[in-house]
Chain length 411, copies 2
């Protein structure tokens, strides 16, 4: 996009990654937690990075989340983030907590940092102790690099039942300087607690204080990561971390900065892209479902209704069955607990209007089935005709493979 005057444009960076923002290196290796695939990765920043993070709302939180929160509390900065997959280090009590400290200390030593500049996180099976010797041996082999391949290696190292890596990168201009936001995620089942699930790591080179970054991330998370559902479960290990290196040399971003909106939108686009990639790769999924609700009492209720629809097993099964089943959609609306006028709801599936003012309207089943067969993303639009609230949510269809994966995973 270059250093033009169009500061408010947000552009997708093709093949961009967590290494596109200035100041970051990454790596991913096989440390022996999985049989063959990569299972240990790290992101390092040249300088202590401003950090923001959001954590699972599950009252059962895994040990590494506690240790990471302690790290961040010291000076709201981190310089390294180390992740293992295959084992969540959750429900592992005092020993699990000690293992997380050991993992953090080994990483700090490897990278020559104080402990509190290191965040640790784990994803995988719950209730088994971390094979800490393998983890520390692996950490001693971590050699982050800024080559393109390093981002991919990191992406691979954090996967569990995911079928693809998930990454994104967007750029904008702040104070005439290019600011990049790169991100990576793992999810697959959103959420299968046994895999201790949704993780996302975002890098940026923006100059921004932790408190403002946290404000933006919390707000954006509510509109993106918190709007996806695969099975409605919330894991013990969910975490999103944003690191800001500050090497873009813009004036510090605050909500009153003239380019705040551009930065906010760039971060939001990155998070929305990762969210959609996670939903699309839901366990066993064949389709991404996007629900858009307009006319709600407010944006929050719109999001709640959208999420209720996209989380309904019946709607999800119908999408798998390529069935334009608006009856299940209106039912989900009816039990969302939000303000509705039961006599005045519109529903369309793709370009096919199926319900208008709560009255079924004749539509071509053939056309609707063709849409649901051909498209990879199924769009469900609802107008509640109550007020002006708008919101989106994303999910996936419920398939035989979801049952197969989750009936068979642990054994």
């Amino acid at each position: 996009m270059g250093m033009t005057k169009q500061t408010n444009q947000v552009e997708l960076v093709e093949k961009g990654s967590i290494l596109t923002p200035k100041g970051f290196k990454a790596t991913g290796i096989h440390a022996g937690l999985k049989r063959k695939r990569k299972d240990l990765g790290a992101i390092i920043c040249e300088v202590p990075a401003s950090v923001a993070a959001v954590y699972t709302l599950n009252q059962i939180q895994a040990a590494p989340l506690k240790v990471t929160q302690e790290s961040i509390a010291v000076e709201q900065k981190i310089q390294a983030l180390v992740v293992n997959s295959a084992n969540a280090n959750a429900c592992t009590g005092e020993r699990g907590l000690q293992d997380a400290y050991t993992m953090r200390h080994a990483s700090a030593k490897q990278f020559g940092l104080p402990d509190h500049l290191v965040a640790v996180t784990s994803t995988g099976v719950i209730g088994e102790y971390l094979p800490i010797d393998k983890v520390t041996a692996g950490i001693s082999q971590l050699e982050p690099s800024d080559l393109d391949g390093a981002a991919i290696e990191f992406n691979e190292a954090i996967l569990t039942t995911d079928t693809t890596t998930k990454q994104t990168c967007f750029q904008t201009v702040v104070d005439g300087k290019t600011v990049s936001v790169g991100g990576v995620a793992k999810g697959s089942g959103m959420i299968h607690p046994n895999m201790a699930t949704m993780l996302s790591f975002v890098t940026t080179d923006a100059v921004i204080e932790s408190s403002h970054l946290q404000h933006a991330l919390s707000s954006i998370t509510n509109q993106t990561f918190n709007r996806i559902t695969v099975d409605g479960d919330t894991s013990t290990n969910d975490m999103v971390v944003v690191m800001a290196s500050g090497l873009a040399e813009n004036q510090p971003l605050t909500p009153t900065h003239p380019d705040w909106a551009a930065f906010y939108e760039t971060l939001k686009q990155a998070c929305e892209s990762l969210s959609k990639q996670i939903a699309r790769d839901g366990e066993g999924a064949t389709k991404l479902i996007e629900v858009q609700v307009s006319g709600a009492l407010n944006d929050e209720e719109a999001g709640k209704v959208a999420k209720q629809i996209v989380g309904s097993d019946l709607v999800k099964s119908a999408v798998f069955g390529k069935d334009a089943n608006w009856g299940r959609i209106i039912c989900a609306i009816g039990y969302s607990g939000c303000t509705i006028d039961p006599e005045n709801i519109d529903i369309s599936i793709g370009n096919t209007a199926t319900l208008k003012n709560s009255q079924p309207i004749v539509f071509s089943e053939e056309q609707a089935t063709a849409y649901m067969t051909d498209e990879e993303t199924i769009l469900i639009q609802v107008n509640l005709h109550v007020a002006e609230g708008f919101g989106k949510a994303w999910g996936c269809d419920l398939t035989y493979d979801y049952v197969r994966i989750n009936a068979g995973y642990r054994t």
Copy 2:
């Protein structure tokens, strides 16, 4: 049980039905809404019966629910209840409402009753107009009887995707008189809105005023029908109706009557039995899951935690996979929103303790798998060690057949 002094005993009546309590007749016929199977039924009482009812909390309510509520409002009594399956008469607007009135009026005429002593209800596909000519023609053929076969005919007439009929009967003694409570239900998917789902009709010969009966039913529903889940969806047509003929000739039951507890328990046993039968016949289910939560802050939170566990797709999939996956159970506990101590939770599956004070304990996977393979009912017990609250919930496993049934139902 006879007229003994053990007034507080509640006994199951083998092969008892809605016709066991004195004063009731029933029938079920094929009226042409389904291709071959029975699709129209009625329960009639010799006298106007005290009535209590609970309805779906879905904001979208089907037309017959509105008409039934109007009937009951007049004098809190009904004498006839007419049900059709195959079509829910939901989301059908003004025409649907007129159809429900027509259905009520035709029934009143057939049985020689004023309109307001007739309740009507429908279950089946949403958003299609009731074939009202077939329904009224069918009503003119209804000839209720008190023979045993008549209860079965009624039971069959209200089914949709259910694989079995569901009925129960319990008795107790009130004032030295035998009081019976009989019940019938349909469910299968709890709930698949497109089938407009959970219906239950209960008869009793107890002498009891509507207001006291309503009080008992509302309280019991919270501990029984509201504690089952197949897929978490709540239909537009859910309804439970209790009719009390008063022919047992006991002194009127009120909460201060010495045998109130016995009657309450009898009604509760009947409702719990029907609830479990509905959960066990969940779409595609191979197992009934019963979750018992003790040590919660109060009974309400215990029930909420139990329902969160039994409603988790991951727990349901694990049961199908015969996997003693306590990690998914503790996750569900963690996001229940109830008061817990994350460090002090016990979980057992059947006789196998899997977690004690939130620490995984070594158990025989073989023994656990054998239990989950051999038993038809899988019992999950949780102790939260917070206070004394206790509650139960019921559900079923999530299977390939659930997906098959719901991906393919409408088309």
